[in-house]
Amino acid sequence: MTSNPYFDFVQQFFTSYDCTILEKSDSHLKVQLTSSMDEEIMNRPFYWHYMKKMNRTGDPMQLTFTNTNHSNQGGIYLHAGTPKLHTIYRAAINKGKTARLYEAIEQPLQNRALCPWLVVNIHLHYRGKQSKDETLSLGLNLVHGTLLPNMMDRLREMEFEPTVSDYTFPMTPLINLENAYKRIERYVEGYVSSISADWATHSLEHLQEEKDLLESFYSSEDIGLEQFTKEQEQIDTRYRPRILMETINGGLFYISQNSNTYVINNTAAD
């Protein structure tokens, strides 16, 4: 299946979490779920509760996915908006929330120190009259405080392992996590104030219009005080411009000196 990004994502997701691909063609993909994956994405809590009570292993399901132009074969559509895909995204985000990863280094020539970075991926939710999201990927060096944008793009081609490679050792961070995160918050504030705030202005204008209209209803006695207050609060929550900062995932990444230079100078990220 060419040019279907969902296909690649789904396949990668299931193989990463130990589910077996039973069948695969250009147009479809059949997966055997593991018990824990079934429990996580199939939404049948009673079944699993019962199985555990009875001390049985349970029978995890198989899922078939299909390209939309081969719909006659049956299976879940690999297309934007398909509910199962959203479940899978959520599972992926849940499972990949936190990490501590060490750069994989094969047989270093000498003992090598690994420098700690805090990598944080952030969703900025712009909310107001209209809404949109933006993802930011930031990396903060916990020794000397360098802060880099587009961090995931810089790291993408590198290899990391959950355990530290032989002959390498992780350095202790000088900046603690709380302070590091505060620096990231300040960076976000700076970033937000550097971009256009027209959306917020429009939203405030609209907020005022709505309030004026509501007040006119109130003064012409179309609505009572109780409803007036309630509506006023609702209008405020709906239209007052604000940005919610949500951390998608983050973790400690230990990176060698050589690679530090590579990461900082990586132009793939620009």
């Binding site: 990004p5 994502f9 990668q12 997701f13 990463s16 979490y17 939309t68 719909s71 879940i76 559509y77 297309h79 934007a80 908006g81 398909t82 509910p83 959203h86 995204y89 992926a92 985000i93 849940n94 499972k95 990949g96 929330k97 936190t98 990490a99 501590r100 990863l101 944080v120 952030i122 969703h123 209209q130 809404s131 949109k132 999201d133 933006e134 993802t135 995931m152 290899e159 990391f160 959950p162 996590l177 709380e178 995160y181 918050e185 976000v188 937000v192 104030s193 705030a197 959306w199 917020a200 179309d222 411009p241 604000r242 940005i243 900062m245 951390t247 998608i248 995932n249 983050g250 973790g251």
Partner: protein, 547 residues
């Protein structure tokens, strides 16, 4: 200047997990989480993400605008009230898909007349790649299905009701929502009890007769938005003259409703040609019609009205009523009915039926014939068969599969489809572009719904409509008074529903019924109908001036 709400939960979570390394992610898993979050991002304030995912569907400008407005300005609660045939279903599908892509709609319930369930399922699948389930009789896994299409009648049954009402739906779409205009019905109460975040009501006729119809629809979307019904009615009735009040209501409603009109959308490629055919009764028929008027003296005027209308349709329709009356009569009156029935049997084939045959055999094209009476439907089918013309019947009472089958037969085999009023909604017959309105309904909006079956999005030919009426009869009156004068055929009926809302004191149907019932003479009927019509006309012209 813009408030930023930081995320205070993450660092404690991270600390906690670093102490329990079992819960930490691999590099692969970390990257997947980031990818997933990026896919789930809505990058722009405006526009629709769905469009780039649906390159195979040609959406029209007004459909895209409608979807954008519902999502960006109306917060997903709206009445989609485009005129018949402008693609309300496509608009609703587009909004649905958009919400699904944005990940905010996952549990979706679509309520539609039973005859449209299959059509919805198919359209969602083919056009939007949305896999929807529709429950069969026994098996209905409401809580397992993400997208469900069903009828209100099915949903409100004891077996399903509780489960459906317990599910918090993200989006509910109700097709043909004008059926919910009465807030006292079980259907209305059921719909109001549903748990929903977003809600779309689809109807081509948001106001069928009264402004309170619209009030009830708005109350489904936003309870209390227009105050309560009694207050609303009172205010509207007594203060209708105060300009400010009307504008106020209109501005409120405008925030809840999208209404595209055919003439605004440039969809006038296929024209609508309307021919009003005034036919003459034969002498025998005319005599009988006159004699029926005798009944007026000792019967309720409604009786005469019914029989007269029926005689204008077919002998058979009239016979059904007379026969029923005879069975319930005493000895005295039985003689009158028997005499009428005898007289009926002497009548030649109906003048309308003859004209219908002429039109159909001249053209060799497919025709839809609408009648108000089942008996006429049977008669016409038989009569067509006598002339070697193949036809299929259609009625709203048919079950789903029978409707689909009849539609298929009409498309592939038969030349004529004979439908009763109940068949007026829900089927799309764009492959046909000739229609005979064998009988005219009282309410002009119903005629519009009929015409909408063929004059809709996807119609490639000009549409030809024949309206039959018999001279010097009650039908003639209706046609002259209501249809010709109101100029409805020129502007389609777009303006009319606005205006019908302004008629004080009762529905349009009722107005006419009352006039016909209570008048003593033809002259009186004329005057009263004239008044009604000039009221409507006056309002139309007033409206045109102000707009």
């Amino acid at each position: 200047m813009v408030e930023i709400h930081p995320d205070h939960t993450f660092i404690p979570t991270l600390r906690d997990k670093l102490n329990n390394p079992n819960h930490l992610s691999t590099w692969e898993g970390f990257k997947l989480a980031y990818e997933a979050a990026k896919i789930n991002t809505v990058p722009n304030f405006d526009g629709l993400l769905a469009l780039e995912h649906l390159p195979h569907v040609q959406f029209l400008d007004h459909q895209i605008e409608a979807a954008e407005k519902v999502i960006h300005q109306m917060n997903g609660r709206a009445i989609l009230a485009d005129e018949v045939g402008l693609g309300k279903t496509l608009e609703a599908g587009l909004i649905l898909k958009e919400y699904m892509i944005r990940g905010v709609a996952r549990k979706i319930l679509i309520l539609t007349p039973a005859s449209l369930v299959n059509q919805w399922v198919q359209e969602l699948n083919d056009k939007f790649y949305i896999q929807a389930a529709s429950p069969r009789k026994k098996q209905a896994a409401w809580s397992d299905w993400d997208v469900t299409v069903t009828s209100i009648d099915m949903a409100k049954r004891e077996a399903h009701r509780q489960e459906i009402l317990s599910i918090p739906y993200d989006l509910i779409i109700i097709d043909e929502a004008h059926k919910l205009k009465n807030h006292n019905t079980k259907n209305y109460q059921f719909v109001q009890e549903l748990k929903k975040t977003y809600c779309l009501l689809l109807t081509a006729t948001p106001i069928q007769n009264k402004l309170s119809d619209l009030f009830n629809l708005v109350s489904i979307l936003k309870p209390g938005y227009l105050g309560n019904l009694t207050e609303f009615k009172k205010k509207y009735r007594y203060e209708a003259n105060k300009q400010g009040n009307i504008e106020h209501i209109h501005s409120l409603v405008g925030k809840m409703m999208i209404r595209n009109r055919r003439k605004d959308t440039g969809l006038d490629d296929s024209k609508r040609i309307v021919v009003n055919e005034r036919l003459k009764f034969t002498k025998e028929e005319q005599d009988m019609y006159q004699e029926l008027e005798l009944l007026k003296s000792d019967h309720p005027s409604f009786t005469w009205l019914t029989l007269a209308k029926e005689l204008c349709s077919s002998r058979e329709a009239c016979y059904m009523s007379l026969n029923q009356m005879r069975q319930q009569s005493n000895e005295q009156t039985m003689a009158i009915y028997s005499k009428f029935i005898e007289q009926l049997q002497q009548l030649p084939h109906h003048v309308k039926a003859k004209r219908m045959i002429e039109l159909i055999s001249e053209s060799n094209e497919k025709f839809i014939v609408f009648t108000e009476y089942r008996a006429t439907q049977f008669y016409l089918q038989w009569y067509l068969q006598q002339h070697g013309v193949s036809s299929v019947p259609f009625s709203g009472k048919f079950n789903k599969s029978k409707r689909d089958w009849m539609k298929q037969l009409f498309k592939n085999k038969a030349q004529v489809l004979i439908a009763t009023e109940a068949g007026g909604e829900g089927i799309n017959l764009q492959f046909c572009h000739h229609m005979i309105n064998y009988d005219l309904p009282w309410n002009p909006m119903r005629l519009e719904q009929r015409i909408g079956r063929i004059h809709r999005f996807g119609q490639e030919h000009d549409v030809k409509i024949y309206n039959f009426a018999i001279e010097n009869t009650i039908e003639d009156h209706i046609m002259k008074m209501l249809y010709e004068k109101i100029e409805m055929f020129k502007n389609a009926v777009g303006d009319l529903d606005h205006i019908l809302e302004h008629i004080p004191g009762g529905s349009f149907d009722k107005q006419i019924q009352t006039i016909l019932d209570q008048s003593e003479s033809k002259g009186e009927i004329d005057i009263k109908l004239n008044n009604l019509v000039s009221y409507v006309e006056h309002t139309i012209s007033e409206r045109r001036e102000t707009s």
